[in-house]
Each structure stands twice: as structure tokens, then as C-alpha cells.
Symmetry: D2
Subunit: 372 residues, 4 copies
């Protein structure tokens, strides 16, 4: 059987997933066969050109024509177009793979999760960093109890593409279109990774309460090719501190103003028996401190028995950021074919969204917010 | 003229300062001559032995006999004995050098600062990390505007000596004696460094409001050589997020539960034109990202024209933690001799204390606290 | 026009190049169209399976049937089968892309270079590390004179897959089949990169004389699935020191016994005005020390205007080892289409081989060997 | 008993040892009592000033008056004045502590070692890097067999103070006065550390044969405060490759032309069961890869049970370069008092010198040189 795939969105994420789909046969031959069937977008010219380059068989300008015609629907558009097409697809019984964050608002995310709950088909939320081999390796260590009980969790995602006040306005600066700024775009990744890594009850559990702070450093930005400026209605940076179910303490942060940092997503965890550190810009590495050690061991997670690595190259031949998409597509499509559960799903997307909303609410009220 | 010095406290800090005093003549020949005159403590036997090893001419068991007999009084005892002898010395017109944090409570710190304000002699608070050459170098960069306007400040101080629940109880676990735990012991260093580095109005200014969280992971600890346990009434860890006068965002953290970290005090700053990073465990280094650079430059701050370095060894011959005490003693004693201002002084100690108190208050109330 | 490609070899290198060819249309749309036409091998069953997975249209067990039928011939077999098919292809006027090292012996390499010289079509030697963006960036810095005149060059390639004396014998341990061991397999990469980076006359020029040392730590190894052992007739490690035309000093080294190092190829260069460092296991980074700096700047070479990067992902989204093959295939196929020169070519392969042979000769004679 | 100490030399090394002697009572109270009795030099004015600053009781301009009057004689002058006073002292039965390298020529070093052999008192050669806690820790690991049999040893010492061709001429550039350049000054440290760490028969044993290369990049240099230039008659850099008794392979290198490196002495060792790395500019750290680990563990060698550390500060409070002198003075003076053996002694100094001489001879002859 070959799964026909319809994809909404042909920019950054469109390319990342199209590439992943194209690479499956050579590296994951046990993955389902797929067909890049339809690419969906509004600008016909750009769409044709993208479909050609990304290897799609056809194009469509209305997602409504697509969601019930394909075997799988990928929603890779901007945040504000996540909900409607995804829900329509799910209602048509079509499995959906949706980019993160799930939605610009908590309410919309809840609707999406509800649609997914009733659909009986996989509804994945594309938190691709769960599929970094080093992160899987960390997850295995944590689950095996090698770090003991968790006391500290630190997550931070630093970029600098807005530090120049003249950097142009985009949809990512608009609350209507994006929901939030660094918080949703970057913080959602952090929140999801943290839940993935320490969310088990015998590690730290879920985040129980949180206190957040949002900041916008530059209030308006020039519109490209135009004389006007537009207001920035989202955060340029956020910080948060949290308490987990077991009493562990968390600090989270993201920024688009961290000069010199391009895509620097770091996670640090301290447990009673050890610690670990991960940085996305060195994604083949994991730093681990075990009970029997005194310092961090820098592990190059490229050995044959490391997660996913046997599909690629010999030890020491590092992989890149894009490989995380291959892994997540492999897992998601397998779930589609077998009917198994896939995580992260819309529930996970919603859980992250609840925490993002709690951070915003806390910032509004100047108080801690307790999650239900 | 030779300054006679009386020192209260002969343990860790006593030794650190005695060593610093002993090294001045060889390395800072322009420092005032000093005489380690009197060492003050309660346990006569231990005191004699310490005085002998640390090179003191005499001992005393009552500080009251000392504070007006010496030219300078060093208060290096535990936090709860900072106030009374320091105030007595200042009232006697004796310059005082007091370890940090200034006091276990904000009220006491205010009394001390008041005494200092009226004394007309230097009253220094021994935040020694201001005297790391790499920190001075960073300060110079910041003052010269090389990092532009400050957007982010991150400070964290990680230790792990309490991660074992069987680690014995000490005065540092007691609210009466220590005031607070990681917050006062470690966080005070962070707060002071941050104020020192970015406190100028054209950088970030002072911290305007703050939200803190204190956590105690282990509620009671065994008493050494005894069957009983005693309650831990201070924090094992704290986190805080802050907003500076200019809108910059800060995150602060300290812990005694960070497995594998011994004395890891790191400061990170992002400005509109650059960034910097410092880590105490590599205190000879500073990582700097300037506007014309793309990545951090790892600077070994051991060149002849780096702060204090010409007094020591040729480039690349690294110094240690203890050297910060030599530098601070040099500066403080010069101020005593010349009558010049010395910073950090009791005002700085109080300013840090206000922030520590605000963090505790915020933790109590679950809200942000605005500094006056 | 579509170029039909015949490929000899379907293991590690076969997969690396097939993947590269498959990725060109999506990421390098201006590359020539290619067709993975024929995959050549001896074991029919394995060959069929590989052709299927790697996307080849047909298979052949005799390269002689292929070399004049395809537009381009890729020779990715073991070293001892590099010469005959490559020469046959070139004699048939078919462009050849051959894996490194060019040949097991200098004589054979000379025959291959001679065939290439007379062929009038591109004959590329697949030193893929020339196509790492960070290496290209380094090359640009060097060519712009930013490091000044070169004084020191250091290259070392460390692996550890033979440190276990029970690791099984393979063709790579046999002088007949492989030519040499770590020297040819790893050292050829180092030698080529060094020539590429500093070989220009105004940097260091070519290596003028060299002194080498080969060592075999384990003299025989077990044959897998067999009771016997076979002798190891190649080096497990080599070291060399060299003098360049301008008097610069080089040290080179490779090993299969460097415990804990998987694929650690590092290059370090010191010039009169600066220094640089590169490590293959962190291939997205380059450490550069320029005249105006005091320490190394860690540059993440993933900006849009960095070499090849605009074809991939936004800044900070790192690429992997395999991407170097995409870049080299792109350049080679462009040269095939346009008739432009391609480097590294068989002349470069021969130049490296001359240095490898000089190292072996020096080891035999216990003396320095001067290159003509 | 108090040992009276006479010291020849009051510059860099004079200050380093005077400081070490001054610090013993406070940190190593079980060390013998010492008296900085006589400081010896030729320039009376400078000598008086130095004696005053360094805490010496008296001065002398003729070492011959001193060597038999003191309990211990320290020879810290330039290389060419090592022999005569040291031999005279030993002949007078006075223990001698001499800076490295032992002598400018092998012949002189042999005379010194002969004098020491007959003297019956300790004759130490001040290779201070043996006394870095991290190096001692490494030594313990190696002796315990944790790295297994040694295959690779790498040592390199990089400085850059001569990279500027206008850097002034000094005695260190003169073959008569210094013996050699980077080779003797820096390489002697490397050679000694390597012998110390892996010289045991069950590790790698001694170096059996060696091949060296010396290079002078700038042939003459300006004399400070003068119009003339003087020839540089020593090496600016050396490289060497070596074979140890057990077949292990070594590469060594030093330079005064390594732009950006100030005092960068690194040692790397690969054994059958693990690897380690040390860098002098981060001397509190040791990177260790043990058999059960996959990557290097960065150990901060500042724990209480680490070598010498209990004398200093709590874990994580790093020490500096100068502390190595305190440790070596402590050990040497203890040996003087107890009559125990002290290492490194003149035999070790001679062994290093033999290797330096072999490197020079190899460079002259263009051949490997076998050590007897």
C-alpha cells in the first residue's frame, strides 16, 4: 500500500517534511511507501514552483478539496491556519500531522485536541526535537533511573534574528497570526521536550505551577518594501520559573534578542544521581554526569546502537538538524499504517499550549498560575 | 604606617583573607603595610592553632576588646554575627571589612548600612568576585558600550554538596543563623555581580521588580556524631526572574543540589551589540561576542594589561580563586589608607540584601515584588 | 539533458553518493539532471537489493559493460579496484569520479593520473572534506590573507575501531587490497585538506620534505566466522612531520587505536596573523583567531552567505557529514556538464599519493624524504 | 630546625619560588621551616630591591660565597649558569634545586648528574608540572592501569611571544646562553611530563628512538634600545615523532609562533582501555575517557581527596599556575629534611636532556636517533 500525502505549506517546514519523506525509502526501507501527492497553497505561481522542486505530483489552492482525498494530511502552514484544515481532515477520518505550536490560542488548541480525540486516527504534533538521537538517548537514561529523582530542569532557546530594531516586521510579530512570539515559536519546543524527558511520575512529573514573564524590546518594526511600520504585538522574549509535581524546580527562557545565538536550544537536568546537558547546535552530542562519575562525559551519540543511528552512517559521521524530521515522519507514518499510537500527539500539543497560556496568564496577573 | 588588623573568624574566610594579607608585600608592594594583629574566636584551642598557622600575633575571645584597638576590623564570621561587631567597630571609627551576605535579615542589613553611613570610614562588603580580572575586563567592555544596550542577564551558581540527603546538618541549613540558604550564600554573589556589571543607567540599570521561588528538597538532616536530625529551615535552591529599569530581563538561580557542579558560578549577558559569558570554574577566561564577530571569542584574561595581571605572572600563567581576595584586600586597604571610597561597600551589601528579601517576599506571596 | 550515471560499489560510499544524487533536485535545482542508471557489483543478490534501496534502474556484474555506456562513471569500490575500471572509463571518454585514496600504490596512481590527463573529461577524486562549509570558509580566510604567512599546520585523524585486538580482520588490514592502513584511509584526507588549505605559494606552498613513521600494534586478527587469524600487513597508525616550501612546519597523524575517538579529523593552522581549528565531529563550527582578536572565536558556519548554506536551512540549523557528498557531487556534475575543471582531480589524488608514498619510504629508510 | 635557603636568580623563577616558600607555613604546616636567607645576583641595585620584595634576609653577588653557607641552594638563573654553581654546591654537600632544562648541552648535564650522583644529598630538577594536581591524578590513573597499555602519546607546548618579527632579541634566542629555543625551554617540560606519566615499563616505557625537526622562522631580531639586530641561533619551534619501548607512538611539538596561544601545554594519551587530555591553561581540569565510558569526562580536580587539594580550598575553588611551585617546594624540602629521594632529580633532568639532544642530532642528520 502507498500512502498519498497532502501537504499544506511549502516554505521552511514544507521543505523540511518533503525532504524527510523523500529520504525514507533509502534509509528506512521498512517505512510505509508514500507518495507526495498534493501540495496546497494560495499563491499559484509559487506553489507550482515549490511542487516541482519538492517533488509533488499536483497542487491545490483549497485545502478543503484535499483533506478527504489523501491518506494523510500534513498541516505545515502558519499557526493561525492550523485549526480549521486539521479539524476538517480529522472529521473526514484522515490522519493529521500538524506543526507546532498547535494553535495561536488555548481555545483553538482545545478544539483541535477534541477533534483528534474523536477521530480514531493518528493526530501528530510535530515536535521534532523529540526525535534527536541524543534526546532519545537522554530519555532512555532518565527512564532507567540513572539520574535518580529530578531536582532541576533548565530549558532555553536563544536566537538573535530580531536584535536589530530595523529587522522587518513579519507574521511572527503579530498576535493574531502567531498567537505569541518567542514563547510559542521557541518555548513550545522547550516545554514539550521537558514534558517528554521528565514528565514521568517517578522523575519530576508534570509542571504543577508556573510564573512567567514576557517582554517586547522593540515595539514596532518596518514593513519590508514599504514606508510604514507595524506594531509588534507578541513577545520578543519570555522567561518562566516552574514547580513540578515532585517539587523539582524549572527555569525556562527564549529570546530572539540573544546576540550571537542562532538556534541555541539547550536543556539541562540535575537529578539526585546525575545530570545531563544538551545543545541543539551540537545535536550529535549529549553531556552526561552519572553517579559514578565526577564530571560530565561528552557522548557522541552516533554509535550503531544509538537511537535511529543504525539507519544512517558509521560512528562519528554526524547527522544534521533535518534528520530529526526523517525520524519523526518515519514514526508518524508507521503509526498511520499500523494504527499504533503516535506521540507527540494533539494531546501533547494541547498540554504544551496550556503551559504557554499559563505563562501568559501569569505575566498578565503578576502571579503564579497553577495548572489543573 | 602599618595598619594593625583584627580578624573575627578563622575558618574558610579567615584563611582566605589571611593568605591575601600575607601575599600583598610580594605582589602589591604599593599596598599599605599591614600587621595581622589579633585573631578573634571563641574556641581558645582552635583559635591559638589558627593564629599560629595564619600568622597572627595575638588572639582574643571577645570581639568587643578588639574593634576599637585595631586600625581595621575584618568580620569573617557566620552571617548572624556580622551585625553587632561590625556596628561596634564602625561606631568606634574603625574601618570594617565584612563578609557577604551582609546580614541574615534585611532589617539588620539596614542597621549596618546606617552605621556605615555615619562612620566616615570605609565599610566594605567582601563580594570578592568583583575582583576577578575577567570580571573587571567584562565591566570595562560593558562600560565602553561594546555590548550596547542590555537585553538579557543570566546568573546562576550551582553546587552539589547537599544533594545527598544524608549530608549532615550545619548552621548553613538554619534560618536563624544563616538567614537563608542557597539564596543568601550563593545568590548574593550573583546579585552583586549583576549590579556591578550592568547596574549603570546606560546599560540595564537596577532591578526594578522581581519574582522568586525558593525550594527545600530535603526537610531534615542528620546531626553529625549524633542520632537526631534537625530541620532544614532554609532553601536548598532558589530561582528568580527580574525586570531591570531599562526593560532588560534577568533570570537567576542557585542550588546546592546540582549534581556534579562544585562551585559553578556563571554570568551571561546579551546586549544589542554583543554578548558575554563567564564561569567561575574557568575564572581566567571570558567569552565575548562583539558586534563585528559571529561567535564567542574565548579570551584568556592573563595579558599584562589585563586588570591586576601585571602584578602576577606572564601571559597564560593562570591564577586561582584565592587571588580575588588579594585584589579585594589591596583595594580595600588602599581605601583605608587614602580615605577614598571603596566598593562594594555596605550600601552595596544592603542593595543585594534588598533583592534577596524581595525574592523571599515574592516567594511567600506568589507575586512579583517591586523594589522601591 | 539527463546524465546517466553508473556506480561501482554499493556499500558505505555507494550509499553516501546515491543519497547525494537523490538530494540534488530538491536542494540544488540548478544541478544537472541525473539518472541513477546502473549499479555495478559482483554479488548479484546483494546488488539487486542495494539497487532497489538506492534507487538504481538496473544492475551489472561487469564494469566493462558499463564504463562506456553511461555518461558518468563513479568508482566507489575498494582501493585495489580503483585503477582498471577508472582507466577504462577515461579511455572511453567517460568522466570518472573515484573514491580516495586514488590507488593502493604510487605506480597505479600515476597510471590513473596519466589516463586522466589524456582523457579530456573530468576525473574527480572524492576528497569530500573539501566541501564542508566550514572548510570552504577557512579556505576563503586563508586566501584573503587573514592568517598571514603560515608557520604551523597540524592534521590528525583519530578512530578507535581496531583498538580491540579481537576486532575482526578485513580487507582494510591487507596491504595488497588496501595499499596501506590508517595512512591511506585517513591520512590521505588529511594530506589533501592540508594541500587544499595552505598549498598556495603565498601561504605555505607544497610539502617539500617529510619524515614518517608507521606502526602496527596488533600483528594478526581473527577472521570472522572462522577459527583462523590473518596477518595485519598495514599500519594501525602513522605519524609524520614535514617542512613546507616556505619553511612552515607540519605534523600529521592518524590512528585506528585512539580510544574514544570515532571520526575525529582535526586541522589546526597557525599563521603570522592568526590561527584556526577545525574538527570533523563538530563540522558546522570553525574556530578562528584573527589578528585583532585575543582568543579563538567559535563560528557556527551556518549563515546564509556561508558556502553552500543558502541551499539548506536557516542559520543555526546544522547539517551533517553526508551533506559534504551533496556539495561535491553538485560541483563534479556541474563540471561534467559545463566542461569546467573540477578539483580535487586525479592530479590531486596523485599528489596526495606521492606524499603517502614518501611517508612510507621515509619509514622504511629511517630518513626524511624530499619530494621532487 | 630551620633550613636556610640561598637562591640564585631573582626574576621570573626567583619570584615563583620565593612565593612558594612564603606560602608553605600557612598551607603546608608540616613542611620544614625555611628561611629565605640569601638572594644571589650580579646587579646590586636590582638585587637589593628584589631581596626586599621577595623577603630575603641578605644578598650576595658571588654564588661561591653562598653555596656552602646555606642548607639548600636554589639555582634559578639562566641555563648557562646552571652547572658551575650547582656542582659546587653539591660538592659542598648542599642540596640543590635547579631550574629546567638542566643545562644548555648534554655534556654539561652529564657533569651535573655525575656530581649529584656522588653528593648524597637531594638534587632536584624543577619540572614543576609534575606537581599539578590533575597531572598527579592522571599519573595515579595510569599507574592503576585504567588506561591499559599505551599506544599514543601527544605533547605540545604552544606560545606566541616571538611571532612578531620585531619582538626583541633576548638570551633565549642565543644558542650559547640558552642551549636551544622552544625545544629546551618548552620541550623539556613536555619530555619530562611524558616520562613521568607513561615511562613505567607496563605503560609505554622510555622513548627508544626519536626523529626531530627544528625550525627558525625569523633569523635575526632587533636589540632593544639599539639599532642593531642579532642573529637568532636557536629554534623557534620543534617537532618530533618517537617510538617507545613498548611500540607506542609519540608526537611532540613546541612553538613560540603559535598565534593566540600563550602558555598552552597539552598532553594527550590513548591506551588500550582509555584516553586522557590535559591542558595547562585549564590546569584544574583533566579529561578522562575510561573503558566503561564513551566520551571524555571533564573532571575538575579540586576535590578534597585529590592530590594536594586538601591543603587549599573547598571543591570547585580553583588554584593557579603558581601553586605547582608550592607543591614541588614542599616535596623537595621534605626530601631535604628526611633524606628521602626526590623526583624529578638530576637523573631525570639528564634523561630529558638526552632526548632533547637526540632531537637536535636527528635534525642535523635527517635520521632517527636511537637512545641507548
Amino acid at each position: 500500500m502507498t500512502l498519498s500525502i497532502g501537504v499544506l505549506g511549502y516554505r521552511f517546514m514544507g521543505k523540511a517534511h518533503a525532504n524527510a519523506l523523500a529520504r525514507l525509502p533509502m534509509f528506512f526501507p521498512d517505512a510505509p511507501d508514500v507518495e507526495r501527492s498534493v501540495l496546497v497553497g494560495r499563491n499559484e505561481e509559487a506553489l507550482e514552483s515549490a511542487a516541482d522542486q519538492l517533488g509533488f505530483e499536483s497542487t491545490a489552492t483549497d485545502w478543503a478539496d484535499v483533506v478527504d482525498e489523501v491518506d494523510v494530511f500534513y498541516n505545515l502552514g502558519p499557526n493561525h491556519v492550523h485549526a480549521e484544515p486539521s479539524i476538517a481532515a480529522l472529521e473526514a477520518g484522515t490522519p493529521v500531522f500538524c506543526e507546532k505550536p498547535l494553535a495561536p490560542t488555548l481555545e483553538t488548541a482545545e478544539e483541535m485536541a477534541e477533534a483528534a480525540a474523536g477521530a480514531g486516527v493518528p493526530a501528530g504534533c510535530a515536535f521534532n526535537y523529540r526525535f534527536v538521537p541524543a534526546i532519545r538517548y537522554a530519555k532512555n537514561l532518565l527512564e532507567a533511573g540513572e539520574l535518580g529523582e529530578i531536582h532541576h530542569v533548565r530549558g532555553r532557546y536563544l536566537q538573535d534574528w530580531l536584535v536589530d530594531p530595523e529587522a522587518p516586521w513579519s507574521w511572527r510579530n503579530d498576535a493574531e497570526l502567531a498567537g505569541s512570539g518567542a514563547l510559542g515559536d521557541l518555548g513550545s519546543h522547550t516545554i514539550d521536550l521537558v514534558r517528554f524527558l521528565v514528565g514521568d511520575d517517578d522523575l519530576a512529573g508534570e509542571i504543577e505551577r508556573i510564573s512567567g514573564h514576557l517582554q517586547t524590546f522593540v515595539e514596532e518594526r518596518p514593513v519590508e518594501g514599504d514606508d510604514e511600520t507595524r506594531p509588534v504585538t507578541v513577545d520578543d522574549a519570555y522567561t518562566a520559573q516552574a514547580e513540578f509535581e515532585n517539587g523539582a524546580v524549572g527555569t525556562f527562557e527564549a529570546s530572539r534578542f540573544a546576540s550571537g545565538h542562532k538556534n541555541d536550544h539547550t536543556i539541562e537536568i540535575h537529578g539526585s544521581d546525575g545530570s545531563l546537558r544538551f545543545s541543539l547546535e551540537r545535536l550529535n552530542e549529549l553531556e552526561v554526569l552519572r553517579d559514578e562519575n565526577r564530571g560530565y562525559e561528552t557522548i557522541l551519540v552516533t554509535d550503531e546502537d544509538d537511537p535511529y543511528v543504525d539507519h544512517w552512517w558509521p560512528p562519528g559521521h554526524v547527522i544534521g538538524w533535518e534528520h530529526t524530521f526523517v525520524h519523526e515522519n518515519y514514526e508518524f507514518l508507521n503509526a498511520v499504517e499500523t494504527g499504533d499510537d503516535f506521540a507527540p500527539n494533539f494531546e501533547d500539543g494541547l498540554a504544551a499550549q496550556r503551559l504557554l497560556a499559563a505563562i501568559e496568564e501569569s505575566d498578565d496577573r503578576g502571579e503564579w498560575v497553577t495548572l489543573e
